[in-house]
């Protein structure tokens, strides 16, 4: 069963001669529990695609279905609640709230939903993320890897069906990158979550179940990661210094 279905979405910025077609009629679907990597050169439209899937931005044309629901047919408020409960976001620059502790940052989406936090699940997450002894620290008191782990915790706390990660290892060193990816994969398996991750790293992309490439607003499905290992297309997406 497909958790995500993207149907012919296009995004155009500007009008007339100055129009920029960021996405051109992209369609694909992702089954539940799959770990998908999106690769592509800078400015190819990867982040735009991820923002559409996460309902952070609206497409010019096309539809996105998550768990069978047309997300752009929802009203602003319902969409916010839907996003809060069903989609977890992980950003390259962590985007933790500087005034909140690690624990408060992780609980933030639950608190926004005016729900009582599940303490057992929180403890479990803190333990999995190896942040138990850092739970009362502020983001400014953590290393980059710890901050990203906290951001992963925030994305997992509502047990969303879909996790969207925009270059989650972009600001991390090799060791931390490896840890973060393995955590994401572990979570994906443990909680049956679908993960869509943008990355520039060939090594990280190859750990995914499936690789999609966006180039000039168009999508190419490379299929299973092990089948595309070493292809010229993959090498083209890799940035200098991203080899791991």
């Amino acid at each position: 069963m497909n958790l995500l279905e993207v149907k012919s979405i296009s995004k155009t910025y500007g009008e007339g001669d100055t129009a920029v077609h960021a996405l051109k009629k992209i369609s694909f679907s992702v089954p539940k529990g799959e770990f998908v990597a999106i690769v592509g050169e800078s400015g190819s439209g990867k982040s735009t695609l991820l923002n559409m899937i996460g309902a952070l931005d609206t497409p010019s044309f096309g539809k996105v279905y998550i768990d069978g629901k047309d997300i752009f047919a929802m009203k602003e408020r319902s969409l916010t609640v839907f996003r809060r409960r069903n989609i977890g976001f992980i950003f390259q620059s962590f985007n933790l709230i500087p005034e909140l502790t690690v624990e408060q940052n992780i609980l933030f989406p639950v608190l926004l939903d005016y729900q009582k936090p599940n303490r057992r699940y929180l403890e479990e997450l803190l333990s999995v993320l190896n942040l138990t002894d850092r739970r009362h620290h502020l983001p400014s008191q953590l290393s980059g890897g710890q901050q990203q782990r906290a951001a992963i915790g925030r994305a997992l706390i509502t047990r969303p069906a879909l996790i969207l990660a925009d270059e989650p290892t972009g600001n991390l060193d090799t060791q931390n990158s490896r840890e973060v990816i393995s955590l994401l994969k572990e979570a994906s398996k443990k909680y049956e979550q679908t993960i869509i991750m943008i990355t520039h790293s060939q090594g990280i992309a190859q750990t995914a179940d499936r690789i999609l490439q966006v180039s000039d607003g168009e999508l190419t499905d490379f299929g299973r990661a092990q089948d595309v290992r070493g292809t010229s297309a993959m090498r083209g997406t890799e940035r200098k210094g991203d080899r791991q």
Partner: protein, 776 residues
């Protein structure tokens, strides 16, 4: 582009929307100062004219100088005009009469009457020794006109004169009274009459300088040259004061207050523009970072920000000046036609150079001063932090939030407000200062109201008063007056002072006794401070007293007067007669206690049908021992003064309120702009628009609530203290929390907070989430 500064107008065109608030702040500052100073300037000019009409246009008066010194002074180059004048019997305590009325005699030369005072109102000034000019009240009091023959009766004999005209050098003194008339004659006639009655003359010499601005130097020079002392010289305080040349302390006090208000408005302007510039700069951190990255020095950034601010003046100052001048026309029109009185002579469409220059100066000076801090802040921007992210957020210290109760968005909002101590204190102080000023000024208005008897419901339009407070008016005169067409109400009161008495309170050996008729007792109900005046009516043993810090008599005291005992059962805040140890009783009790049945005073309130005929009829009822006073003009002037005072106070409070509002709006805007990226992330992880607004509202209302607590916490005790010292102590009224004002303040603060939230919340909500995440 010739230089990097050519970027300023280009940047201004592109950032038109962001610059709107800053431009608005400059326009408001210039507008306020232009409007205030234009109105003040027009008022001063009108007052100058009316002061000269009322008090004469002479600048100094020299007493006890010889004719020779006077002649020398008149020939000085810095003297424009000089003339002699002498007077006698101004208090009407000598038996000099013209017709049936008491006469005050003046001997003055033509220069004094025509040039140094604008005395003449009708006819001409005396041209020979047989002519006199009478004060205008003589027309009604003596029923005479120009050309009539009048006889001046003096102890040494009678002299006949022809009336050459009407007027006076002190119009206010004679205005509205029928008891005494001024008689202006030539110096020769005056000398003859004084000599015949063996009265010594004391002529004074009046001097008008060429330029009032050089008056101080001229006076000092004259003192030295003619051996004059301070005792010889008196100044025309009203005229000198209005031109800023007076040595009078009270006038200089007024100028000090004006200077203080100017500084306050200047400070408010600096605060407002500075806040707005700060907001503008913080929203453009990346731009200044980029400038630094591509090689702009710190000094160049400072120059850029300053010139950018001055560039705004190009549009904002003229707009402020035009708007301020137009509003000053409106205020002047309201003062002239809506309030009248002493403002009736104000010009409506007067362009004030003083107003325009001060507005322009304030605009440019405040902008330069206000640009100082933001310019330095922009220059300090690190190239790296500016291009990489939000320096504001990174720089501020973080403290852990305690989130145990309440919703997370509210907790975060409160934390955003309280997180920066300095900002919190500034915002709280801003609200608190406005509240404290409003509470204190309201006490000032209450005090001013208490000082103005004309605002009391019983204030008469006309008074008949026995000379020296004698009980010469008969009871039935009041009834006769009530039957005259045009009379609305009349009340009578009797007064006797220093009546021997003893009291249960030690130290009382006399009292001053005053009677109230039923009309007055009814009106006194509004002025009761303590006790009940129900038992005072009719022939009773109950009396009341006036609440005053100097009055030893208190409620519960008993007083023995001529073998009768009365008890003080009530105290009121004021009475018709001033003085200590005042005991007020009913007319019946007064007659029983004193055995006297006459009245000292009859107060008359006129209705809309009253005309000169009404006044004539009432005047005819008065004998030579009764002073008839028409206080209608005085009452109107007092009312207009009070209205103008209120207008001034409320105007000033509005300015302070507006400045506070803009300051709060700017600060919230800065705070939101600084957290744009953070808000974007919050929205991405599930914060909806309403929660976002609630978070910003929580921040704004934290400032509002702390401002209210602080403002009320300091303002209310201060209001009580001031009220106690000014009003309760002198007028007896007891302080009550000003509930209506408090509600108004709460409403104002709530509106400020809500207005501060509106624009930033709208801005953030209208931004796409992706845009806010990528912002900065």
């Amino acid at each position: 582009m010739k230089s990097y500064l050519s970027l300023i107008p280009i940047s201004a065109r592109i950032h038109r929307r962001q610059n709107r608030m800053t431009l608005l702040c400059i326009v408001i500052s210039v507008f306020l100062v232009t409007a205030i100073f234009s109105v003040a300037d027009t008022f001063v000019r009108a007052t100058d004219k009316s002061m000269k009409e009322k008090h004469g246009s002479w600048h100094i008066r020299l007493d006890n100088i010889s004719q020779e010194t006077g002649d020398k002074i008149s020939r000085r180059a810095d003297v424009m005009a000089a003339g002699w004048s002498d007077s006698f019997n101004l208090d009407a305590d000598h038996p000099y009469y013209i017709g049936e009325k008491k006469a005050a005699l003046y001997g003055a030369d033509e220069t004094y009457l025509s040039q140094l005072t604008s005395s003449l109102e009708e006819g001409g000034i005396p041209q020979n020794d047989n002519e006199v000019m009478l004060s205008s009240n003589a027309k009604l009091a003596l029923d005479v006109q120009v050309g009539s023959l009048v006889t001046l009766r003096t102890p040494a004999g009678d002299t006949d004169f022809t009336v050459s005209g009407f007027g006076s050098d002190d119009k206010k003194y004679y205005q509205g009274q029928m008891y005494m008339t001024a008689v202006y004659m030539s110096r020769n006639s005056f000398h003859t009459i004084m000599a015949a009655n063996a009265i010594e003359e004391h002529p004074s010499y009046y001097v008008q300088f060429q330029k009032i601005s050089g008056a101080s130097e001229s006076i000092a020079d004259m003192k030295q040259q003619y051996d004059l002392t301070d005792e010889n010289i008196s100044e025309n305080t009203a005229v000198m004061g209005i031109s800023g040349q007076s040595s009078s302390q009270s006038f200089n006090g007024i100028y000090q207050i004006a200077a203080m208000l100017f500084v306050l408005v200047l400070l408010a302007g600096v605060l407002m523009i500075s806040g707005s510039l700060n907001s503008n700069i913080s929203q453009r951190t990346q731009f200044f970072g980029m400038m630094r990255c591509i090689g702009a020095s710190r000094r160049q950034i400072v120059r850029f920000v300053r010139l950018e601010a001055l560039n705004w003046c190009k549009t904002a100052v003229p707009v402020g000046l035009i708007f301020g001048t137009l509003v000053s026309f409106g205020i002047c029109a309201y003062l002239r036609y809506g309030i009248g009185g002493e403002f009736a002579s104000m010009q409506v469409f007067a362009i004030s150079p003083a107003g325009l220059i001060s507005g322009m100066l304030v605009g440019i000076v405040t902008v330069l001063l206000a640009a100082q801090a933001p310019a330095k802040r922009a220059a300090r921007t690190s190239p790296v932090s500016a291009v990489s992210g939000n320096s504001e957020a990174a720089a501020s210290k973080r403290r852990v939030i305690r989130h145990n109760v309440g919703r997370i968005e509210q907790t975060l909002g409160i934390h955003h407000a309280a997180g920066s101590r300095k900002n919190w204190i500034l915002m709280t102080s801003s609200f608190a200062l406005t509240i404290i000023i409003a509470l204190c000024f309201s006490v000032g208005i209450d005090f001013a109201r208490g000082l103005m008897p004309s605002l009391k419901s019983w204030q008469p339009d006309l008074f008949l008063n026995g000379y020296n407070n004698a009980l010469v008016l008969e009871q039935h005169t009041k009834d006769v007056i009530l039957d005259i067409s045009g009379v609305d109400r009349a009340f009578g009161t009797a007064y006797l002072d220093h009546i021997p008495a003893t009291s249960s309170r030690p130290g009382i050996d006399y009292i001053n006794l005053e009677s109230y008729d039923e009309n007055l007792l009814k009106n006194a109900e509004d002025e009761v401070v303590q006790g009940n005046l129900r038992d005072i009516s009719g022939d009773s043993n109950k009396v009341m007293t006036v609440y005053s810090k100097d009055n030893p008599l208190k409620i519960g005291d008993t007083i023995q007067i001529a073998g009768n005992e009365v008890e003080v059962t009530c105290s009121v805040s004021g009475s018709l007669f001033p003085g200590e140890r005042l005991v007020i009783c009913s007319q019946e009790t007064f007659e029983r206690l004193t055995g006297a049945d006459g009245l000292t005073m009859i107060g008359i309130q006129l209705d809309e049908d009253a005309d000169e005929g009404t006044i004539q009829q009432i005047n005819k009822l008065t004998g030579s021992d009764v002073i008839f006073t028409d206080t209608r003009v005085q009452n109107r002037e007092s009312n207009t003064t009070y209205m103008a005072l209120r207008l001034g106070v409320y105007g000033f409070l509005s300015i302070i309120g507006m400045v506070t509002m803009f300051y709060i709006m700017n600060s919230i805007s800065i705070s939101v702009a600084a957290r744009t990226k953070q808000y974007g992330a919050m929205r991405a992880v599930g914060m909806d628009g309403t929660q976002l607004i609630l978070m910003i509202m929580a921040e704004a209302f934290t400032y509002a609530v702390s401002g209210l607590i602080c403002g009320f916490g300091i303002g209310l005790p201060l209001s009580y203290l001031l009220y106690d010292q000014l009003v309760t102590r002198h007028m007896g009224m007891v302080w009550h929390p000003p509930v209506a004002l408090l509600c108004l303040i709460v409403l104002f603060v709530a509106v400020c907070a809500a207005a501060a939230v509106y624009a930033p919340a709208k801005r953030i909500r209208n931004m796409a989430i992706t845009e806010t995440i990528n912002e900065l």
